[in-house]
């Protein structure tokens, strides 16, 4: 395995298609995420937004299309970058799942949850890495030997983030990282993610149904509907309501709340 470079990595998805039993979940999605960028994917249930993330890290079968890492300060050619599904790829690309109640093993302590990725990748300094990971997500050592049921939702999501970060990946895939959390806890997690991104020069790809959350964290975003890409736009454009597609506009109106006499 070549050494993990410290520079940020980007990701290019080209003509990605995911088909389940004749049902097309993602229909030719293409986008490019620059190194260090934060990219959002927005859509309603069934739009294929989560499937795109899962296809990137090999959890969903690709019918066609390519996922390719790009960039890196070492100037590696694209062809030399690890391919999705390989161990080297997962060392660089890690995922945080939506539901912190479902994504942590209930019979494992925080310590063993965090030690597992290190063991898989044969990393020796587990002790110091676990300590550092816990500190980084703002939990401290007191949480190290607790079980998931002894933690609140926000604390669990912090553990899930620590587990993703413990391999020091360059790209973090975030699948609705705050939708299962209370508003006040959501703010804490969003701040933590931003802080970590700045410190570690991370690239984010975040999926969410909440336009405000995505525009807060991301610079550019892709709007998806029923597996199709509707619109690719800058977060600033969305915030200023400069959108061209009616679907994006209807999402924006829905996000502003209920209107009497609808």
């Amino acid at each position: 395995m070549n050494s993990v470079s410290s520079g940020a990595l980007g990701l290019e998805v080209r003509q990605l298609r995911v088909v389940y039993d004749g049902f097309t979940a993602v229909d030719y999605a293409s986008f490019c995420v620059a190194p260090g960028e934060s990219f959002g994917i927005v859509g309603e249930s069934g739009s294929g937004k989560s499937t795109v993330l899962r296809a990137i890290c090999g959890l969903a079968p690709k019918a066609s299309g390519t996922v390719q890492l790009v960039g890196g300060s070492s100037g590696e050619a694209s062809a030399a970058q690890p391919t999705p599904g390989s161990k080297a790829f997962s060392r660089r690309v890690q995922m945080v799942f939506q539901d912190p109640y479902g994504s942590l093993h209930p019979r494992q302590t925080v310590d063993s949850l965090l030690a597992e990725p290190l063991a898989i990748h044969g990393i020796a300094d587990a002790e110091t890495r676990i300590e550092r990971a816990l500190n980084e997500v703002g939990l401290g050592q007191g949480f190290r030997f607790r079980y998931p049921h002894q933690l609140s939702g926000g604390q669990r999501q912090r553990i899930a983030i620590a587990r993703a970060l413990i391999l020091e990946p360059q790209i973090l895939l975030l699948d609705e990282p705050t939708s299962a959390l209370d508003a006040s806890v959501q703010a804490e997690i969003l701040n933590l993610l931003e802080e970590l991104r700045r410190l570690r020069n991370l690239t984010f790809i975040m999926v969410s149904h909440d336009l405000a959350v995505v525009t807060h964290l991301c610079e550019r975003l892709l709007v998806m509907q029923r597996g199709h890409s509707v619109e690719l736009l800058a977060a600033a454009d969305l915030a200023a309501r400069r959108v061209s597609q009616p679907y994006t506009l209807s999402l924006m109106q829905a996000a502003s709340g209920f209107r009497r006499g609808q």
């Binding site: 939702g153 006040s184 703010a187 804490e188 915030a239 200023a240 309501r241 709340g257």
Partner: protein, 282 residues
């Protein structure tokens, strides 16, 4: 908006306590008082604030080990705490009903949607099966389901979340209750579907003069929908707000909750976080 004469529901100093492991009692709801007329009342709070327990206690659906007490708990003149359990059962479903959060878990997975609605109706009214079916179809139509006859025959896993929630509402409304408690009725739904479901509830309040209590964690959504909002924190009501009066919120908790939501078009980095003060929970 609310009929000043006699409120539909009067709650005074209601408490819900659960036995804790050390043998004592822990109060999840600590002295809640409010009245509800024929209006839309929002009950907002974060997890653990006691909002759902309040709704459940009114219906009498609290867990068996819990202790519910109140100085007064009255529903259209009936003392709910001291009436016989049989009377409470007749009220529940017929005159007061509840819509739960997730249709995936709250509908019976092995019964068709139509059969479930018919069962609800026949539990409360003596009607022929033909009449019951006709009413069930009408109920499905009233929640804006395009093809009621088709949905009637489907099982819950065959419909989408929004459709399931509408079927749930149709089921709860078939006995024409006076009071509907909706516990996070739209949290499992997409934003656009959320608004459709809310507008159905809105029309029901307007057309039938039903009282609606909407329990939710979503301050922003509730403030655009309800006539009045009660904000709960640690088992107490900390603030009451008028519709659209979110900007005038006084309590630091409500204001903090507002501030920590990311806003479309306003960039605040980092987001404000809520500093919980111990005195709020006193």
């Amino acid at each position: 908006m609310s009929s000043a004469a006699s409120p539909l529901l009067i709650v005074e100093d209601m408490r819900v306590a659960f036995p804790s492991r050390d043998g004592g009692l822990r109060e999840a709801v600590r002295g809640v008082s409010f009245t509800l007329g024929r209006e839309r009342l929002g009950l907002v709070g974060e997890s653990g604030s006691g909002k759902s327990q309040t709704g459940r206690a009114i219906l009498g659906l609290s867990a068996p080990e819990s202790r519910v007490s109140a100085r007064r708990l009255e529903f259209s003149g009936i003392d709910l705490l001291n009436c016989p359990p049989k009377q409470r059962r007749t009220l529940r479903g017929a005159r007061m009903a509840m819509v739960l959060q997730d249709p995936k878990f709250s509908l019976n997975p092995v019964m068709t949607i139509g059969a479930q609605i018919v069962e609800t109706l026949r539990a409360h009214r003596r009607v022929s099966s033909k009449e019951a079916k006709a009413q069930a179809l009408a109920a499905l139509e009233s929640v804006r389901i395009d093809d009621p006859a088709r949905v009637f025959k489907l099982y819950p896993h065959e419909v989408s979340g929004g459709m399931g929630q509408r079927a749930m509402i149709a089921m709860m409304l078939i006995a024409e209750p006076d009071l509907l408690i909706a516990d996070e009725p739209t949290s499992a739904l997409d934003v656009t579907v959320q608004l459709q479901v809310l507008s159905i509830l809105d029309a029901l309040v307007k057309e039938r003069g039903m009282g609606l209590m909407l329990v939710s964690h979503d301050l922003r959504l509730v403030s655009t929908f309800c006539d009045r909002i009660l904000v709960m924190y640690a088992g107490r009501i900390v603030e009451e707000l008028a519709a659209g009066g979110l900007a005038d919120a006084r309590h630091p908790y409500t204001r903090g909750l507002m501030a920590c939501l990311p806003q479309l078009g306003a960039s605040t980095h980092p987001l404000a976080t809520l500093e919980r003060q111990p005195e709020w929970a006193l």
